[in-house]
Symmetry: C2
Subunit: 417 residues, 2 copies
């Protein structure tokens, strides 16, 4: 296992974690841009652009791209989040050059007006479906309520209105600014020929124009929700109720990031946690969980519940009671040991796949210009103590001030929000 790093003259960073025993190669372009980097009039452009990247370049049609990946037998995909847009492929080592070549060309898409118009309909349909499926947009709404005017309050998909109003020129300008060498990392993992990777990058991306990259962090991240109380989304046909509750937690650069994740496993892992034994095992709730989510400059403790509609509010109360009890009476060493085993197991099982390592390594480097091997992360997790968990629990109470959204069939007399 080795970590390699090179910076091209135009600022593009090329990194790789190489594993001698690997039989496959994963490569990806990590664009450090997402919903948080949009303005109101660009809302949803990052995700829409991700779709457009597969529609072709000046020289290649969308069909050409699909057929070339197919011919390689590549496993290829992309995703857009609040802070990142990632394009990746997993291939046999002998196809490294071909895969990088194709992905690099895609990073300079044609953004043709007719493709833009067609794909807009696909995006609008995606927004509609998202709102139509459990939890009926409750998570996006909750994040919007927690973050208020902070850019992390923006959903990844955008709104029907913002997508409808978006002109292709705005996407072209956004692409020029946000897919510049200083904002993109080329990462690889597995069986990587690093000199060849750097050579490919020079030849294919060496002429990309640098654009100054600003600081993406925003001062004044809220520790309390912009909108408190319980908001409701009513879907008369829904079979179950879904609750999402967001309270502040440690951000990505916070040394307590992993302790926060450990605390979430103790209190609200999908099995074997306090919430599980109190609510899910006896059948009171379909699902009741807590997890920790981190961003560049903010963090969240996210509580999720699905249950019979009549029980939602009383179960939410019980969940807060379980958090408060942990805060007041503490948690015990046995619980921390079990959660540490779980977390370590996940780090290790995930870390054994080069494909999965690509994301860990690429995102970590994009966000903080640091590299951590699986063994490094494992050491951090294994060294966490009861004290660390208790400290997070008192500093960032998951039962503290929060935004809450309840989606479901609604009580009699309620109307759709």
């Amino acid at each position: 296992m080795a970590f390699l790093h090179e910076r091209l003259d135009n600022g593009l960073e090329v990194i790789a974690e190489t594993t001698e025993s690997a039989l496959s190669t994963s490569v990806g372009f990590f664009a450090m841009t997402g919903a948080r980097d949009e303005r109101d009039d660009l809302w949803g452009v990052s995700h829409f652009l991700e779709h457009m990247v597969f529609k072709g370049t000046a020289d290649l049609s969308g069909d050409d791209i699909n057929r070339r990946f197919d011919a390689m037998g590549a496993s290829v995909n992309a995703f857009t989040g609040e802070e990142d847009t990632v394009y990746y492929a997993a291939v046999l080592p002998r196809q490294q050059h071909e895969a990088v070549d194709l992905l690099a060309r895609m990073m300079r898409p044609a953004l043709r007006e007719e493709d833009f118009a067609t794909e807009k309909l696909v995006i609008l349909e995606e927004i509609r479906m998202y709102d139509d499926q459990p939890p009926f947009g409750a998570d996006d709404r909750c994040r919007a309520s927690f973050f208020g005017r902070h850019p992390l309050g923006r959903s990844v998909l955008g709104s029907t209105e913002s997508i409808q109003a978006l002109p292709v020129e705005a996407m072209r300008d956004y692409h020029r600014r946000r897919y510049a060498p200083g904002t993109v990392v080329l990462a690889a993992s597995g069986a990587v020929d690093f000199p060849a990777l750097v050579e490919s990058a020079r030849r294919l991306c060496g002429d990309w124009e640098p654009v100054p990259a600003g600081d993406r962090r925003v001062p004044g991240v809220p520790r309390a929700p912009a909108v408190g109380g319980v908001e409701r989304i009513v879907r008369p046909a829904a079979a179950l109720a879904y609750a999402v509750r967001m309270a502040a937690g440690p951000a990505e650069p916070d040394p307590d990031r992993y302790a926060a994740k450990l605390l979430a496993v103790v209190l609200g892992d999908s099995s074997g946690s306090r919430l599980y034994w109190a609510l899910v095992d006896p059948g009171d709730a379909e699902q009741a969980s807590l997890h920790h989510q981190d961003f560049l400059d903010a963090g969240l403790f996210v509580t999720q519940l699905s249950c019979d509609a009549a029980d939602a509010e009383s179960l939410l109360e019980r969940m807060l009671g379980i958090y408060a009890e942990a805060r007041n009476q503490g948690i015990d060493t046995r619980e921390v040991t079990q959660a540490r085993n779980k977390l370590a197991g996940r780090v290790v099982l995930g870390g054994e796949r080069p494909r999965r390592r690509l994301f860990d390594v690429g995102l970590e480097w994009s966000h903080s210009r640091t590299y951590r091997s699986v063994a490094d992360t494992l050491r951090i997790v294994e060294s966490l103590t009861l004290d660390d968990v208790q400290r997070v629990l008192s500093a960032w109470a998951p039962d503290g001030p929060a935004a809450t959204v309840l989606a479901g069939p609604g009580a009699e007399g309620e109307t759709s929000a």
Copy 2:
């Protein structure tokens, strides 16, 4: 990478593929028993028994088992197929002993009468749900029609009638015969301490009573379906139609096994295949695919289609036409190269996960007492030629005699089969 093997005095085989760089350990018990080893009055017992194994032993309750796995942070599960019942856990290396200990105890379940009665309701519900979801049992029905009285015609879940009629004594007897040392393999992969594994096996399974294991293969496997023509399953509320078509193909021990899989990728992979470009890409079908499935003494080419109900029969015709065209006019080198890349990529990407290797290594050993590394399998795939694929295509025409089941809303005037 090393392969290790030991046979206990009572006949239990212990095998491991060890990987030096692995950070996790996967262990599993592979019981060489499944639907094909049942009699009519035991139909469904293998899968039902798999559920019962999690209900506890003489010393441990089902809850104890869950809590002990939880405490390890283990990822644990089981599955039952036509020919195998597999129980497995992925853990940190330091928990190897604990995981083997718990799994080994589970292999000697209490099979308590009250648990049996409760779990019977769960199984009956599972059968009901299976029939209620697309493709509405079409695959099981099609296999039954193809294999007729051959034991591979039996579905894994059993029928409502066979499960209702099953007495707990019959399950206890089946367990005694089919979970004997000669019928079970203990396999491990990843970071394995093999001497400790063998020591655990001796201590925990050394007193298991041997039972003579018969030959599971059955002479007279059909190359043509027991029931031909098109059978129908009518579900008036279904949105789409689903077709399943099964024709004979090479069995597991056949040297043409991998060539058959390559042929299926060329003709009917879920993307980039002949069926894909002809039917799925233009939007005529939701899904249209061909895959090859192999058993100890039989093989199948399975065609699957989902589409608008009105189009099902004409699309099935077109699929057969595509197979016939390939048979008559041949396929070309470019198609074989692309399919070989895909297949090689899947072998390699799957093979990088110790958890996934456990299944490959354990099942291969259970069925044929052979071991193949990922590199071995890769060599087989990479050496396949156009001639190999053409040979399979003429010997086992996927458009040849077949059982076909069509499930969907049905045409006017039709009634439920």
